[in-house]
């Protein structure tokens, strides 16, 4: 239903979007993930008619929205911004605003506002001054304000970027609930890749004004197209090597002085990049392992960095391999910087791409 063709946007000398194309079918939750400044907000703003593209077209059910620029098209969309815009009025007036613009009968407005406040869990807040609410509550008001207008397309521009973790969960559940109840097409940007994974049917990774990859969350998180996407989705182990032999689908990849075994259809002699997640790497003190674990390399711990319940451990095995293990396991094994250990991972863990030229 929403089709974007070759969309570009230039602000002065800087090209923020560089020929973006995208199709979002009706009823899909599409998440744009990518680092800050990649152009995510600009894309959403162009869809919402807040900015004009330098080139390219956006079609909503076949209508070129920037050509038509009519109110009817705009009023089919609703957008929630990173910073919730709250008007210095009551909660009721804040939520009713879009309906006021549509000159809806006051009785209908009252009903719709009450319904929307119920959905976002703020029933009874009508007469409160909206400015006195918390950040999370304000963002829920912003969602309710868009909901009352029954948008066909809901645009969410990093709606949880400024919120505490509890409020983030509340907003995420709301997004899922809204989608479940109204089958709204939702296009959402986030720099939180896990949020993208939690909410999206499909993800587009935007890097430097272009989509580097489209895919289901699983595809994006396990089989990145290139090292930029890999880095962004947390695949920290990116290693260059060459396939030196093959045995029934298993490629033996020479990396410095070690040989990594991985599933790959690529032929012998190919220069490849090996991607695997730190979470797929185990650390032990002995080199005896189950047969299925084909990759076992001795090495020495270079650094241990705490990350929440995990420790990020870098082990030098000739190449540096990053592992993510729980702090409990770290303590049980008595791991310290300088400890001699073995790292291990299955042949199915790495994702192999032919090296980029």
């Amino acid at each position: 239903m929403l089709e974007i063709h070759n969309l570009s946007k230039q602000f002065g000398d800087s090209e923020v979007l560089k020929g973006v194309s995208l199709k979002v079918p009706k009823g899909e939750i599409f998440t744009i993930i990518g680092p800050s400044g990649a152009g995510k907000s600009t894309l959403l703003r162009l869809i919402n008619l807040l900015d004009t593209p330098t080139e390219g077209t956006i079609l909503l059910d076949g209508t070129d929205i920037h050509k038509e620029k009519n109110m009817a098209v705009r009023r089919r969309m609703g957008m929630v911004f990173q910073k919730p815009a709250i008007f210095n009025q009551s909660v009721y007036e804040n939520v009713a605003l879009g309906l006021r613009f549509r000159q809806i009968d006051e009785r209908v407005i009252r009903k719709k506002v009450a319904d929307a406040l119920a959905i976002v869990g703020l029933t009874g807040f009508e007469e409160r001054k909206a400015k006195t609410l918390s950040g999370g509550e304000m963002q829920r008001i912003a969602l309710a304000r868009v909901l009352v207008t029954d948008p066909d397309v809901l645009l969410l521009d990093e709606p949880t970027a400024n919120l505490d973790p509890v409020s983030v969960r509340v907003i995420e559940e709301l997004v899922q609930r809204i989608h479940h109840e109204f089958q709204t097409t939702i296009i959402m940007s986030t720099h939180d890749m896990f949020q993208g994974q939690r909410l999206a049917h499909r993800i587009g990774v935007m890097i430097d004004g272009k989509f580097a990859q489209f895919g289901t969350p699983r595809e994006i998180f396990t089989t990145p197209n290139d090292r930029f996407v890999a880095r962004f989705v947390g695949i920290e182990n990116v290693i260059e090597g060459r396939i030196i032999s093959k045995d029934r689908g298993i490629a033996f990849i020479q990396v410095g002085r070690i040989t990594i075994q991985a599933l790959s259809p690529l032929p012998v002699g190919t220069d490849v990049t090996i991607f695997f997640r730190p979470e797929d790497v185990a650390i032990s003190c002995s080199s005896s392992h189950a047969e299925s674990v084909r990759n076992v390399f001795p090495g020495q711990i270079v650094s241990i960095t705490p990350m929440g319940p995990y420790n990020r451990i870098i082990v030098d095995c000739g190449v540096k391999i990053i592992a993510m293990i729980t702090y409990m396991a770290t303590e049980d094994l008595g791991l310290k910087e300088g400890s001699d250990v073995c790292v291990s991972f299955k042949a199915t863990a790495p994702h192999i791409l032919a090296a980029e030229e």
Binding site: Q89, F101, V146
Partner: protein, 228 residues
């Protein structure tokens, strides 16, 4: 020194006993300045909003000019309006010279730059997300302007109060256009000027105190509204 103290005492007497002459002048002052402020606001706020949210060449220059005119000398406004409404002027046929209506026109002209300029400042202070949200919610141009003015209402009210203060306290245009005719165009400022030159210090002080009290009351009202 004694003269001043006795002036003060007489002044308090005039105010407390609600001296008819003093009350009449005060009410006229308030009515004329209130009228010019209201008319000025009705003209200035839409103009200010339109300027703020339109893009055109020379916009910055225009805003600079408007800000310069904050300090517009009252006698210049008096002269300008005099030329406009005196017998020989383009609006001479309306016979507005030496009338309260003429004074309202002069004061409106005087405070328009402040009202327009401060409206622009007030609207510029709004968060861009507020503006984006209004557009995103499908506001028409008119709905948009109405909403931003509503959102900036307290800052705009402060501008209007400032405008009223300038209108009620100016004397140059009031005397040139009104002529200080007793019972017709005599207002607080022109009366103070006249009474002082005639040596009636007590009356002048009384009128001065009233002038200050009006300003005080208006500002208190504004503070109450803004804190609500």
């Amino acid at each position: 020194m004694n003269e001043i103290i006795s002036g003060f005492l007489t002044a308090l007497h005039l105010i407390i006993t609600l001296d008819p002459g003093v009350i009449e002048i005060s009410i006229r002052s308030i009515l004329i300045s209130l009228s010019s402020t209201l008319i000025g606001a009705l003209i200035a706020v839409p103009i200010g909003a339109t300027i703020t949210f339109s893009e055109f060449t020379g916009k910055r220059f225009l805003v600079n000019i408007i800000q310069t005119l904050y300090a517009l000398p009252t006698v210049l406004v008096g002269l300008f309006v005099f030329l406009l409404i005196s017998r020989a002027g383009p609006l001479g046929f309306m016979r507005l010279l030496f009338t309260p209506e003429g004074m309202v026109i002069a004061q409106t002209v005087l405070i328009l730059p402040i009202l327009v300029g401060l409206t622009i400042s007030a609207l510029k202070g709004l968060d861009t997300t507020i503006l984006d949200t209004l557009r995103s919610l499908g506001a028409t141009k008119i709905q948009f302007l109405r909403s931003v003015v509503k959102e900036a209402r307290y800052a705009i009210m402060a501008a209007v109060v400032l405008g009223f203060g300038r209108a009620i306290s100016e004397v140059g245009a009031a005397i040139m256009i009104g002529g200080n005719i007793r019972g017709h165009t005599r207002v607080l400022t022109t009366a103070i000027s006249l009474e002082t030159s005639m040596g009636n210090l007590a009356v002048s002080i009384a009128l001065g105190i009233i002038l200050l009290m009006i300003a005080l009351v208006i500002n208190l009202l504004l503070a109450v509204v803004q804190n609500r």
